[in-house]
């Protein structure tokens, strides 16, 4: 009964959308990388770096949108590193991805310690505030949930639409998809597989960093260690769950976030109080694994995912 009440409340769905936003951004980033044929396990670290960079920029006096741009540029920097190693040099995408995550995380913490040597609790910034879109936000439930978010969330939804249009309706998108399906076909048509794949990884990494920045600049207003907390890995599961399609991945992220929001609320109900809170915290991770089990067998994996391409190999 209580659960039903939760499910029909606008504030619950508004929270779900808020929780979904960083996942949506980072999932789009990973999806672009994988569509081009590159698994980017740097996602977790790049989100950490983006969270710090955006927040730090604003803390140092830039505007919020400049902060978002800074986060994106930092993410693209790590994307550049990842793609140089995995695309032209064809190194193991697993190892490089984990290495990039370790490097991005440790350099973020190092930079944090250098920038704020003496603080015990990190300072706060004036984060993005919710902006209720007139009229639309008056629609019961759906409108209240969707259109009373911060502008950062609106940007995330716009980026999903943009990603979808890019992939399916533009020559660039066709090239990206083809690079993930058959790099040889791309090369035979006179296009550079290296440039396409590197470009996809760099842009995708920028999206991931924005996902991280949402945490410090919109969901919260400060930077904490461990704040990304495995969200990057969940995004990798979401890409699979969404069958590498932007719309389905968006849906997956919102469903996942709704589940997360639900477990937070159920914890506070009478029924939830008797259960150790760790069970609730585990639930999203377990849910991700269950989702993977359900879809993995019939997932349409890009045929050349994780297959390096070396021009003129014989």
């Amino acid at each position: 009964m209580e659960i039903l009440d939760i499910l029909i409340s606008a504030s619950f769905w508004a929270a779900a959308i808020r929780i979904a936003t960083p996942l949506i951004l980072a999932t789009m980033g990973e999806l672009i990388c994988e569509r081009a044929g590159v698994l980017n396990l740097g996602i977790e670290g790049i989100m950490v770096a983006g969270a710090f960079a955006g927040w730090m920029a604003v803390y140092s006096g830039t505007g919020l949108w400049v902060g978002v741009a800074v986060a994106m540029v930092v993410g693209m920097g790590f994307g550049l590193l990842h793609s140089v190693l995995t695309v032209p040099f064809g190194l193991s995408q697993h190892v490089v991805g984990l290495g990039v995550t370790l490097l991005a995380t440790s350099s973020t913490y190092y930079a944090y310690r250098l920038a704020l040597p003496q603080v015990n609790s990190p300072p706060k910034i004036d984060a993005f505030q919710p902006y209720e879109i007139p009229l639309l936000s008056d629609i019961p439930l759906l409108g209240q949930a969707l259109f009373s978010q911060t502008p950062f969330t609106y940007l995330a939804f716009a980026l999903v639409a943009a990603t979808s249009v890019m992939l399916y309706r533009t020559p660039v998108g066709l090239a990206v998809r083809a690079a993930g399906e058959s790099p040889a076909a791309v090369a035979a048509q006179g296009l550079s597989v290296t440039a396409i794949r590197m470009g996809a990884v760099i842009v995708g990494s920028g999206f991931m960093a924005m996902g991280g920045a949402f945490l410090t600049m919109s969901a919260f207003d400060s930077f904490f260690f461990e704040m990304v907390n495995g969200r990057g890995w969940i995004c990798i599961a979401l890409v699979v769950f969404g069958s590498w399609m932007p719309g389905k991945a968006l849906l997956g992220a919102v469903l996942f976030a709704a589940f997360d929001a639900l477990q937070i609320r159920v914890q506070q109900t009478g029924f939830g109080a008797d259960i150790p809170y760790q069970i609730f915290l585990m639930a999203p991770y377990i849910l991700s694994i269950v989702a993977l089990v359900l879809v993995s067998r019939r997932a349409q994996v890009p045929a050349a995912l994780m297959v390096p391409f070396n021009k003129g190999e014989r």
């Binding site: 032209p88 984990l98 370790l102 913490y109 890995w233 599961a237 150790p276 694994i289």
Partner: protein
Amino acid sequence: MRLEPIADPSLARSIAPPAIAIIATVVIASLLAMLAGANPFSVLGLILKGAFGSQFALLETLNRATPLIFTGLAIAVAFKAKFWNIGAEAQLYAGALITVVLGTGALPWPSFALIPALAIGAVLAGAVVLLVPAILKTRFGVDEVVTTLLFNFIFLLFISMLLEGPLKDPMGMGWPKSARLISEARLPRIFDGLRLHWGFALALLCACAVWVIQTRSTLGYEMRAVGLNRDAAAFAGIPVNAVLVKTALLSGGLAALAGFSEVAGLKGSLTLDLSPGFGYTGIIVAMLALLNPLGVIVSALFVAGIFVGADSMSRAAGVPTYLADMMLATALLLMVLAIMLTRFRVVRD
């Protein structure tokens, strides 16, 4: 650009890239230290001194290297078969968990029976924990990278739940901490008076055992074949899925020994900060060792030295300890690049 395999690489070709990678790592670390306003030479000197400069430092490094040898071996075994076990952290905690469950009085046995029982129990626990992702992979085609990663989070929450529930030490003054092991369960020191326990010796033994398995046994041959070319292995009649499951069991068991050795040899009880990421650092250890089990010993000592040295350097020079993590991540990326360059030449189009 394009990569061209080199038929018979010269000695210089084999040595120069890794050497340059190491030098470049040191140079980058120096620049980072300068960024923190410190003198790079004194920072590097302090790291070296803190790691190997005294008996105390050396013992500290050996102690820190012990779990890293186990997790490094776990990763090396798994990666050799291209089974991407990123969940050594969870398996480590599984080993530690069994050690405290059985070692705090449940088995009132003398040391000579209890300690092996705990080690075996830990191995089984770690193996079981990794068995789940292995079966999900072989049966349902679920990518093990994501599952093992997510298992780390799940398992740590599980441990947290136990430490705040059934395993909570009544004497722990409210801290989430298990009861202490009975004295029969503690790993003795190798030399009287020196703070180094038999876990280190066990780690060395395991490294040798894994080396023998990989190079001499049919299982090792199968694991290498599966890792290098799954299709060819399957065509030749190697039971690929069975090999992957066996690999997972071995890998999980080795990682769990890290947890056993930390609890029984060093800490005496289980807390949530038992491992500062030994499971993840094991990836660096294994890669720097080129997945060679004997190389894991050397690279674990190196990695442990950097960490221990960075701790003491940080206290003395005020440079954040995260310098160590950055150095290792840099070393990892540069080393995989360097190893590739020993075998391929970059050709311009």
